[in-house]
């Protein structure tokens, strides 16, 4: 058992989650605070550009903390990080395509069906 323990603490095992519990509690607390902030955005009724900006910023900070610390991405080799985190960029391109498509659809609906109130 003592042999196992000493083996677990060698530098080669650094990527396999030998971090102090304090780090997880800190991130947990940060996620709580960020969630409270994003809830306050709705509660206080922030509108317009500020609302979108705040929602996106808090969302990305939360997502970053979860992926980097809770999912240990910060301690993985770059080959895995890039293999997993780059492909979702395709979703952004898809989003851009569908924004243009949705604009076209609403324009057509308003022009030909005139269902606007």
């Amino acid at each position: 058992m003592s042999e196992t323990t000493s083996h677990m603490q060698t530098p080669t095992q650094a990527h396999s989650a030998q971090h102090p519990i304090r780090l997880y509690l800190l991130v947990w607390g940060l996620l709580f605070v960020l969630s409270a902030f994003s809830y306050m955005v709705d509660y206080l009724g922030v509108q317009g550009l500020a609302r979108w900006l705040l929602i996106i910023v808090f969302m990305m900070l939360k997502a970053g903390l979860i992926v980097a610390v809770f999912m240990h991405m910060a301690w993985e080799r770059l080959a895995l990080v890039y293999a997993i985190l780059l492909p979702p960029a395709a979703v952004l391109i898809f989003t851009a395509l569908m924004i243009s498509e949705a604009n076209y659809t609403i324009l057509t609906r308003l022009a030909f069906f005139n269902t606007a109130p």
């Binding site: 992926v67 809770f70 080799r77 080959a79 997993i84 609906r109």
Partner: protein, 236 residues
């Protein structure tokens, strides 16, 4: 040990390391076991699934000339004589984040081979997950009784119902599956399967405490998806 590679065997770091890892023959992911790499690749595919749902929601909401129901009012609860906006959703968010916290600590204690604490924290995670699903069931019941159906609702664009049930339903299914797997892995930890390298029921492979971390990856992903759903569907 699957991770017996010394630091000297890992080669260069940074971009040069990415090129070296991918062109190295054999395994590209030098420090991730096949199990962890496969879970990550599954989660990547799941990212696309949820990405497509959210994009479909965006397209529906952007392209309808009918006003979209205001989620702040739709998901408000009547507490103490006044409407509190989104309060149930906020509580669900905190419950899910807490379950992520207990899961992260379970992984940590797993690698320290403290199986009692690991199993207890995994059970706590499962309990919080089940609480989340229960609250979601309450939310669905409330909305259905108010007349929200996949093809109509009292407040505006009919697409609201279909996207809501589709996105939260798929996420709730993920949470439910996660709870079941948490219970299975927690039982293995409790029994000491990973200490004695007992063979598993499906693959007959010897278990390791890394299974807890792989289980954790899935669970954190469920939390991660909720971050995006909370931002785009409930807050936007």
């Amino acid at each position: 040990m699957t991770q017996s590679l010394g630091n000297s065997d890992l080669g260069p770091t940074g971009l040069r390391g990415v090129a070296a890892d991918f062109s190295s023959d054999q395994r590209a992911f030098k420090t991730a076991s096949w199990g962890k790499a496969m879970m990550w690749i599954f989660l990547l595919s799941d990212t696309f699934v949820f990405g497509c749902f959210l994009i479909a929601y965006m397209t529906a909401r952007m392209s309808t000339p009918v006003a979209w129901p205001n989620p702040s009012e739709v998901f408000a609860l009547h507490i103490g004589g006044q409407d509190v906006p989104l309060i149930l959703i906020a509580i669900m968010t905190f419950v899910l984040i807490s379950s992520s916290g207990t899961m992260a600590m379970a992984v940590n204690f797993g690698y320290r081979r403290e199986r009692g604490r690991t199993a207890a924290l995994m059970l706590a995670t499962a309990l919080l997950g089940a609480t989340f699903v229960g609250m979601q069931a309450f939310e669905w019941t409330k909305l259905i009784s108010e007349g929200v159906l996949p093809w109509e609702n009292p407040w505006g664009a009919p697409q609201f119902g279909s996207t809501f049930f589709m996105i939260t339903g798929f996420h709730g299914t993920h949470v439910t599956i996660g709870v079941i797997f948490l219970l299975i892995v927690a039982r293995k930890v409790w029994r000491g399967d990973f200490d004695v390298a007992r063979r598993g029921f499906f693959t007959s492979r010897k278990g390791q405490y890394e299974s807890v971390e792989i289980m954790g990856l899935y669970w954190h992903f469920v939390d991660l998806v909720w971050v995006f759903i909370f931002a785009f569907f409930y807050l936007w």
